[in-house]
């Protein structure tokens, strides 16, 4: 595989239960895409769970608001990738996903070997690492 060139590589570590990091990731990715930039997301560590297929399309039902559907993080990520098929690519670290039992991923993301991360860095003009393991 040849990694498509991108203006920005966002490497993210950490899951949604830690902080607002994932919200910041989505906000920043959307702002970059709105600025016509091409973006790749590389999910490492607990962030490989963001696009786990086991999350399904919806969050568990809110018992105080049973009539409302809330999309899962995986559904939001898939929706964002589908909205920008030419300018957004989402990659998942194979080592980290296997280590955490997240091997079944949604169709919109691609699993990549950790040893190929350098190719993604090389393909990006700029890189920002968000969060820690």
């Amino acid at each position: 595989m040849i990694v498509p060139p991108s203006d920005m590589l966002l490497k993210v570590l950490g899951g949604p239960h830690h902080t607002e990091l994932v919200t910041s990731l989505f906000r920043l990715a959307q702002a970059l895409l709105d600025a016509d930039a091409s973006v790749q997301v590389w999910a490492c560590g607990a962030a490989t769970g963001l696009t786990s297929a086991s999350l399904g399309d919806l969050k568990p039902r809110d018992v105080t608001d049973r009539a409302t559907d809330y999309p899962s993080i995986a559904a939001l990520a898939g929706r964002l990738v589908r909205a920008y098929p030419e300018r957004l690519n989402w990659y998942v670290c194979r080592f980290c996903s296997e280590d955490r039992g997240n091997t079944a991923q949604i169709a919109e993301v691609r699993t990549r070997p950790a040893a190929r991360f350098w190719e993604h860095v090389q393909a990006a003009d700029q890189m920002l690492v968000l969060g820690v393991c």
Partner: protein, 108 residues
């Protein structure tokens, strides 16, 4: 001139690391670098007036203090609550800065 975008996501309640990050930013600014420091998530708590994170030194050396508007609103803070010299910034400004050639970005 080196151009930096430093992003602090931790607040003063998370320990001393955020203040150290601000000190690093002030050092870079004092060496002639152009430095914008963005506070985001819990980091915006450090911009509340009365909390000493080393802003006077950072700002006096030419640093720019950006505070994420979304994070401020989420915490029910008002503009008047923020330290003098801080300015609210939206994510589109952050994206624009990141896409500026030569900018070095660090998230903490």
């Amino acid at each position: 001139m080196a151009d930096y975008l430093l992003i602090e996501s931790n607040g003063p309640a998370d320990g001393p690391a955020a203040a150290r990050f601000v000190a690093d930013a002030a050092t870079l600014a004092s060496q002639g670098a152009k430095v914008a420091l963005l506070l985001i998530q819990n980091g915006v708590a450090g911009a509340v007036a009365g909390i000493d994170m080393g802003w006077e030194e950072f700002l006096s050396r030419g640093g720019e203090l950006w505070v994420d508007r979304f994070s401020v609103r989420q915490r029910a803070l008002a503009d008047a609550d923020l330290v003098a010299g801080a300015r609210l910034a939206d994510m589109d400004e952050v994206a624009k800065k990141l896409l500026t050639p030569g900018v070095r970005a660090v998230w903490h």
